[in-house]
């Protein structure tokens, strides 16, 4: 069982690295969906003695529905309506951002064991995976130009926060968890509307155009 959890964490990190390297939005969205589904399985896999099984099932089900299906569906709709397929010229190129991502992953795995945690009995890969996923999401938000890829970066960032939240899943009430997921859903919804308007106004989803003056 423990090796299966290892595999889930490692796949999550590999998907982070893939997202940093990929220019195809469709493939990226699909990978974010897979990442979300993998993360949704974690509460069940990590639930051990003394955990609320009902809580874990609720958490996993909610995460799977929202991260694995609803948000990817919204994103696919967004790229279909805006008819864009690729991120063309990111501010930081694909190779440098992949190398940066690799450095971040290495640092996260090297130093996370030094972090003081409230519960030392957690899985060894949990914290480094959370940190490297947050780092990858941050890189995506900062370095991409298209609004869709920035939303994807935001989703990855939130995935990282979610992994970190698993540390506290016993302490965290269901209402807070539901609030976070609802927050995320609302954010993606709003961004979808914003994207639609940017697209209609400038006939492109390039956020650089938002900072140019217009008469």
């Amino acid at each position: 069982m423990s090796s299966f959890v290892d595999l889930v964490f490692i796949l999550v990190v590999v998907i982070d690295l893939f997202l940093l390297a990929s220019s195809r939005l469709g493939a990226s969205i699909r990978n974010v969906a897979i990442q979300g589904a993998l993360l949704a399985s974690l509460p069940l896999l990590l639930a051990g003695e003394g955990h609320h099984l009902g809580h874990a099932v609720l958490l996993a089900g909610g995460a799977l529905a929202i991260k694995g299906f609803l948000i990817p569906w919204l994103m696919f709709r967004a790229i279909r309506e805006a008819s864009i397929r690729r991120e063309m010229e990111p501010i930081v190129g694909f190779v440098p951002s992949m190398v940066l991502g690799g450095v971040g992953v290495a640092l996260a795995f090297a130093f996370s064991s030094r972090l003081p945690l409230p519960d030392p009995g957690t899985h060894a890969f949990l914290v480094p995976t959370a940190l490297s996923t947050v780092w990858a999401g941050l890189l995506l938000v900062v370095t991409r130009k298209k609004a869709v890829s920035q939303v994807l970066g935001f989703l990855v960032l939130e995935n990282g926060v979610y992994v970190f939240g698993l540390l506290l899943s016993d302490v965290m009430p269901v209402m807070v968890e539901a609030g976070v997921l609802l927050d995320l859903f609302a954010a993606v919804f709003v961004m979808g509307i914003v994207m639609f308007h940017i697209n209609r106004e400038f006939s492109s989803l390039d956020t650089e155009k938002l900072s140019a003056l217009k008469d």
């Binding site: 595999l7 490692i10 690295l17 390297a21 795995f109 480094p128």
Partner: protein, 302 residues
């Protein structure tokens, strides 16, 4: 034990063209053709060896030395390789560095011979080849480091030897990542499809093929045979790395040769279902392989 080593060296010298034949046959099955016979690469080599060679007056001894040095270096690398879990013919601590640089020497000789022709076209091919090789080399070293760390030895015989099944028990994720990365490197090093197309003769996109355009006869046979040996080397490492769990000598031998055949089929499948990447995207693939192996190494080191 000696018998096994001799057997492996014989297999290393005899089987590689057959591996190429399997790759070609897989591709033709995918394309719905009958395809060339499995032994076609042997016939090609025999035909080329019977021919005479033509040398341009502008070339020097470097051009003639290229194929010979290339073949000799790859064959020497084969001496260091342990196959099927048996120790290699030659083995010492740190021999994986010699292994990597013997392959590097072969590439260097081929590139020099290409530059020696004075053709701008071959110079371009040589430049591309060494550019991609310089990106593939760190990835190869990182993979070998992962193996060294996982098994706790510094020789290829140790890395691919008896310690490997135990390492799969304790460090399976890292070894799996290293194997994926090594497969990408194998495709790049052997100029197979996502990186280079061995069948292409379109001037703009050739990488490896363009360097050997001016060689003919026995020289070309040496180059083709050397390329087949190199493919077999990578297939042998990957086969032992992924399938290296046989207990007895006979079982691990059988698994080993099965693994090499599977590797050849996999290469053929990849060539059939993938388009080659644009040349500007190739570094991205190779850097990706390096990043994966860094990740594997970090998993082991923490």
């Amino acid at each position: 034990m000696l018998l096994r080593t001799v057997l492996h060296l014989a297999a290393f010298l005899v089987l590689p063209p057959l591996v190429l034949g399997v790759v070609n046959r897989t591709k033709s099955v995918f394309a719905g053709r009958v395809g060339p016979p499995l032994l076609q690469p042997y016939y090609d080599l025999a035909k080329l060896l019977r021919k005479g060679a033509v040398y341009s007056r502008t070339t020097t001894w470097v051009f003639r030395a290229g194929p010979v040095v290339g073949l000799a270096a790859v064959a020497a690398a084969g001496l260091l390789l342990s196959m099927g879990g048996a120790p290699a013919a030659l083995s010492f601590a740190g021999d994986f560095i010699l292994f990597a640089y013997l392959l590097g020497l072969a590439r260097f000789a081929t590139a020099l011979a290409a530059l020696d022709t004075g053709s701008a076209f071959e110079g371009m091919g040589a430049a591309r080849e060494v550019t991609f090789a310089s990106l593939a080399e760190p990835a190869l070293f990182l993979c070998l480091l992962v193996l060294a760390r996982a098994t706790g030895t510094l020789s290829i015989s140790g890395m691919l030897g008896a310690g490997l099944p135990g390492a799969w028990g304790s460090a399976a994720p890292a070894l799996l990542l290293a194997a994926i990365s090594l497969f990408v490197i194998a495709l790049a090093e052997n100029s197979r499809i996502p990186v280079d197309d061995p069948n292409t003769h379109l001037e703009l996109t050739m990488i490896h093929e363009v360097m050997v355009l001016d060689h003919g006869g026995p020289d070309l046979a040496f180059i083709l045979y050397g390329a087949a040996l190199k493919l077999f080397l990578f297939g042998a490492i990957l086969s032992r790395l992924v399938l290296g769990r046989g207990d007895g000598a006979l079982a691990s031998e059988a698994l080993f040769f099965l693994g090499v055949a599977l590797f050849a089929i996999l290469v053929g499948v990849v060539e059939s279902v993938m388009a080659r990447l644009r040349i500007v995207r190739v570094p991205q693939l190779l850097v990706g392989a390096s990043v994966l192996s860094v990740f594997a190494l970090v998993l082991l080191l923490r």
